[in-house]
Symmetry: C2
């Protein structure tokens, strides 16, 4: 079998990071790269920091029209946007050329939640072209939804779900500090929240929707809110500073009402230097269920590498799937790939024979 | 769509318990029961303790020949044996009548590990008859294997896996106390171990095999061993007593050698009254990986209900699957079913239309 052939659309931190991981794996080749501006025309191995070219041929970064042609690859990895409406045209572009597509766009982890019309059109487009489209990442896509779903498999009954991820923003750079309002006043936080310019977490609607579909719960109402995490002490991270009394992070909360009861609670506080105030970071699945579940992963699994790994590791599942829009509950359980990528591929489903 | 139609083969603690759970769910009917001896000819709702008949018609327990006929059900649940070789003929009997089958037999969670010839024949039989066969449970099937596999999905690299389940035998009855040698001397333990009459845990070979297949690791060598857990203090559980100096449980260990390195360690100590000596029960997934994972579920998820729930919850996935022998890494992620069973079923794959 020929190596699995991958095109990377978007060579920023996420897409480039996935490329760096793929370059260390067996049985898989990066056969194309797409980006904008002055990256076009350059060698992908020069554009992506830290990627190892070895004795591989150059891959010249181009436009979608240059790179994505029928038969050019088994799959395209699209890491360019967070929202379904922004990535939709790109996904259609790939599928109309008969190629499978996977994306890091958070809303695409369950586009049925906020973009049901586009989800339907994506499913139709995928089926018409005999290919598969999937969105995934660590959250949404794994920690606050798929992992919870898996734990319920041992349960006869589930009464209430608490899905919690307590993480540190300290490793992130200046852009995230600005987006998350690190160091601003509560007044400014509330102003930005009212204006809709506080970033917060994208994915609660998707995680809640995915869990409800899996369990067969009819979601009556979804809600979410954010509150400032105000610090009592000065906190300093490599790229952020929050003086005492200012905002050191954002506490995101989400919930799902099912049969008139609040059966799902999503809890995701993100802040710089949580350890300074005795907050232990971690991932938590707490089920009021028969039997009960009380899971903790401490510290939280790292989001950056985790998302890139999730996308890389789902590549074979997307190639192997039957045509259509898939979510993480439709495909087999994802996992690390320590051997040859080709050993994970169903020969009949491979596009580049 | 007609309700999902289930036949229960084996009405003991496991099969009967699954029946009790199914009787509380929507969109699913128990349409047949099979057992031996004086249960035959009786109403299933009288034979299974605690099951609610409600206004359902009687289900008369019969022989396999009486009950399993083409078109009689969508799936048969076989809970009669632990070993593949003992359950093999029953699985073939079901499949030759064109019906899907799921079993609690521990070795069937990954029969490729210890019975590769039978696994091959089961796969052929399933495909020939257009049906699916799956073995599952909480362990093997979820806690010490599938859950580990899911965590690796967020990893770029996995160097070493520790899969640990520390549980209490206190809830179990006299048969388990006897099987596990509770209260016997170390000398007797070693004698029984040498004779091969110590029960221990069935499933390490299966869990290790499943993890290796998922990750693409070639397993060079699998090993396992058991040691007595000798108590320093008298320990008393409802059905067991281990005086100081005697055996209060069994510590099962297993391992997998991959590329010359011990990359998988399975650790499963089972004992009565662990709390008396400060042992905290729980399920643990510890990955030396990029990024690392350090998961604990405390206390351990209950094995009895957990196994029954896993089997019940996998019924739709087995019906929906393409024909063949499947394991937990081939089907979508399992989960609790809180709504109507029919909402989980692919209409094209339903046998009883």
């Amino acid at each position: 079998m020929k190596n699995v052939q991958v095109i990377l659309w978007g060579l920023g931190a996420m897409g480039g990071g996935i490329g760096k991981m793929l370059a260390k794996k067996k049985g898989v080749d990066i056969v194309g790269g797409i980006d904008i501006g002055d990256k076009i025309g350059k060698n992908l191995y020069d554009v992506v920091p830290g990627i190892e070219q070895g004795d591989r041929p150059d891959v010249i970064v181009g436009t979608p029209e240059d790179v994505i042609k029928p038969g050019a690859a088994d799959i395209v990895v699209v890491c360019t946007n967070s929202f379904t409406k922004d990535v939709y045209e790109k996904l259609v572009f790939v599928m109309e050329r008969g190629i499978n597509v996977i994306t890091s766009a958070e809303e695409m982890a369950y586009p049925q939640a906020q973009e049901p019309e586009l989800a339907k059109k994506l499913d139709e487009c995928a089926k018409k072209n005999g290919v598969t489209v999937l969105g995934t990442g660590i959250n949404p896509g794994l920690i606050m939804d798929l992992l919870v779903i898996l734990w319920t498999a041992a349960c006869e009954d589930v009464n209430h779900i608490t899905s919690r991820r307590v993480n540190s923003l300290s490793p992130f750079g200046p852009a995230v500090m600005e987006e998350q309002g690190i160091g601003i006043s509560v007044e400014d936080f509330n102003k930005r929240k009212a204006e809709g310019t506080m970033a917060g977490h994208v994915g609660f609607a998707e995680s809640v929707g995915m869990m409800c579909e899996a369990l067969g719960w009819k979601l009556d109402e979804f809600g979410q809110d954010m509150e400032p995490i105000v610090t009592d002490v000065d906190r300093k991270s490599p790229y952020g500073f929050a003086p005492a009394g200012s905002v050191a992070g954002v506490a995101m909360k989400g919930w799902g009402i099912i049969d008139g009861e609040r059966k799902i609670d999503m809890d995701h506080p993100q802040q710089i230097e949580p350890e300074q105030v005795g907050v232990h970071t971690g991932d938590y699945v707490i089920l009021d269920s028969v039997p009960p579940v009380n899971m903790a992963n401490n510290p939280e699994i790292e989001g950056g590498i985790g998302t890139m790994a999730m996308i890389m590791n789902c590549i074979p599942h997307v190639i192997n799937a039957n045509p259509g829009l898939k979510t993480m509950i439709d495909i087999p359980v994802p996992h690390a790939i320590m051997g040859d990528f080709r050993d994970q591929i169903d020969e009949e489903k491979k596009l580049v024979k």
